[in-house]
């Protein structure tokens, strides 16, 4: 619990809270059944990977923002791509249910180390399988796939713009354009 907020409540609280998923007893599983959260969804939702923000002005960064607040989920997924075309870093922030958070968290894990071309082949069904998403949560995986596609598209647009700019600039100022 590193939220930095006062935890002047009951000491037992923290212990019970953080242990409740580790001690995966029968009662715990039973309690989760109605909402049909898999262990993996819970793990990602409780310990989301790669939460954060990359500089969206960076030409090597692609940003995808998908979903709508009125629909109950919004995902922002960002990738930073090396000059060799490999995704060096991926970050996300998600407003949504546990499955939406888990889908985007998983997506960032998968994106890191992949080339852009490889990243493009990620399909929502793979996310569904990995996280054991129930039918009502499939839209979360679709949103994650959309977020990946949207981030790649944004990255490509920026690269395109940079190439155009470079082509125009080389005549006058060699190497003037450097990623900020």
């Amino acid at each position: 619990m590193s939220s930095g907020l006062p935890t002047d409540g009951v000491p037992l609280a923290d212990t019970a809270d953080s242990n409740s998923h580790r001690n995966s007893t029968v009662t715990d599983t039973e309690r989760e059944l109605p909402m049909a959260y898999s262990e993996k969804v819970i793990d990602h939702a409780e310990n989301p990977r790669n939460v954060g923000t990359l500089d969206k002005e960076d030409p090597n960064v692609g940003t995808g923002l998908v979903g709508a607040p009125a629909c109950g989920d919004v995902m922002r997924l960002q990738i930073r791509v090396s000059d060799a075309g490999v995704i060096e870093d991926a970050k996300f922030k998600t407003f949504g249910c546990g499955s939406a958070i888990a889908s985007s968290s998983l997506a960032t894990e998968w994106l890191k180390g992949k080339t852009v071309a490889e990243a493009e082949t990620i399909k929502n069904v793979q996310i569904v399988e990995e996280l054991n998403l129930p039918p009502v949560k499939i839209h979360c995986s679709v949103l994650a796939e959309d977020a990946i596609k949207s981030a790649i598209e944004d990255y490509r647009k920026k690269q395109e713009a940079r190439r155009t700019l470079l082509a125009g600039n080389t005549a006058t100022a060699k190497g003037a354009v450097v990623p900020s």
Binding site: G9, D17, A70, C71, R76, K93, F95, G98, L143
Partner: protein
């Protein structure tokens, strides 16, 4: 004080049976097990006597003049159906217009929708941002064809207490019957069928520390004498209004629960109000962008419905899964639509998705409230760190100006 997890803060959905209620019920399962309709032997007489005692206690709780005005049912859904369909069928020669509100329970709304298919006209009154019905709207909606007005005593989601006394004056003046779904409010807020000029009222045992599967419909017997057509055929129990063998142990429990509510309700309400305010102020003093949905003034003491902006309700519930609450988020309902009650109050879908309903009750402790308040603050903070919307809000971006890709 040690805390036992999970914590139940969903007392609007149901309540545990009070041990005193259970104790009173037990003999009626095994030793005094007769059928209350058996007129020929002592087993039947004893059962009937127990039922009549319970009936009196229920009548007393709601200020009914006679225990004969209490028709025992299987619960509030049945009571609502019986009241509305029963009145509609009996008075259809007199008129075909019914008035209700958009924030009623589905047992009322869906019953009204069915009647519309059968040729009745239904007016669904809106509510203000405060979640309250305006009596003037009722007044303006009444026509010569109006036979029934049905307005709930207290709303199940936002706990708002409707101005029934004012509405009762109007309906009585105009000679229109007034029904109320009093399920959430009975015992928690003043309710008196005489004072409020109520002609029919639905109540249920399991929202007041009685057993599930037992309820009642209050049907006024004088000034005016209300008539309804039975919706279930059979042995003619309950003065012909509701056939079916009586659930004697359940009814005994209902009676005991009603008696406890009558004797202890006021004190309990004061305690709950204190706990509710403790929860509310603790949460609101530590978090920004938190909104209470509905009037705080005209509200059940144990209800707190809050929207935590930029955090989605189901995600939040998952992160506090040792605390039982409910949410207006679409993800928690089968319809994939956010709460129709919050929408009717003019709340945007994004805030409806972010709403959590806390329901405090008889067995809620101060230590539980403190634990939950602290947990909410930590988890909301954590989820906001994860929320792109909160980040955008902090950057000064107006989220309404963003072109969102609907999906």
């Amino acid at each position: 004080m040690a805390i036992q997890l999970p914590i139940f803060m969903d007392y609007h959905s149901t309540t545990p049976v009070d041990p005193r209620v259970l104790e009173e019920m037990l003999p009626y399962f095994t030793t005094t097990f007769g059928n209350a309709a058996s007129r020929s032997h002592v087993f039947g007489w004893k059962a009937e006597e127990a039922v009549d005692h319970a009936r009196e206690k229920v009548a007393k709780l709601i200020g009914a003049q006679s225990e004969k005005e209490i028709v025992l049912t299987s619960g509030a859904t049945e009571s609502d159906n019986l009241a509305i369909k029963g009145v509609a069928e009996f008075y259809k020669e007199k008129g075909n217009h019914i008035i209700t509100t958009v924030i009623e329970h589905k047992a009322i709304l869906d019953t009204c929708k069915r009647l519309e298919k059968e040729g009745f006209t239904v007016t669904y009154l809106g509510v203000g941002k405060d979640g309250l019905v305006d009596p003037d709207d009722v007044k303006n909606a009444i026509t010569d064809k109006t036979i029934l007005v049905s307005v709930m005593l207290a709303n199940n989601e936002v706990g708002t207490i409707q101005p029934l006394e004012a509405i009762g004056k109007l309906t009585r003046e105009r000679g229109v019957l007034l029904h109320t779904d009093a399920v959430q409010g009975v015992g928690k807020t003043p309710f008196d069928v005489e004072k409020m000029n109520i002609d029919l009222a639905s109540i249920t045992a399991h929202k007041m520390y009685g057993p599930k599967g037992v309820g009642a419909l209050y049907v006024r017997r004088s000034k005016p004498r209300v008539r309804i057509v039975a919706q279930q055929d059979g042995g003619g129990h309950e003065r012909g209004m509701r056939s079916g063998t009586l659930n004697v142990p359940g009814i005994v429990g209902f009676g005991k629960a009603a008696e406890i509510m009558r004797l202890e309700g006021n004190e309990e309400a004061a305690k709950l109000l204190g706990l509710r305010e403790r929860l509310r102020t603790k949460i609101m003093s530590s978090l920004d962008e938190v909104y209470v949905n509905g009037s705080l003034e005209h509200r059940l003491p144990g209800n707190l419905n809050i929207s935590f902006a930029f955090v989605e309700g189901e995600g939040l519930m998952m992160s506090i899964k040792d605390v039982a609450v409910s949410s207006g988020s679409a993800c928690t309902s089968s319809s994939l639509e956010p709460s129709y009650v919050l929408r009717a109050m003019g709340l945007g879908d994004e805030l409806a998705h972010s709403s959590i309903r806390f329901g405090l009750g008889r067995f809620t402790t101060e230590a539980e409230v403190d634990y939950v308040a602290d947990l909410m603050v930590r988890k909301v903070t954590k989820l906001r760190d994860l929320s792109p919307l909160y980040e955008m809000h902090k950057e000064g971006i107006d989220l309404n100006s963003v072109q969102w890709a609907a999906h």
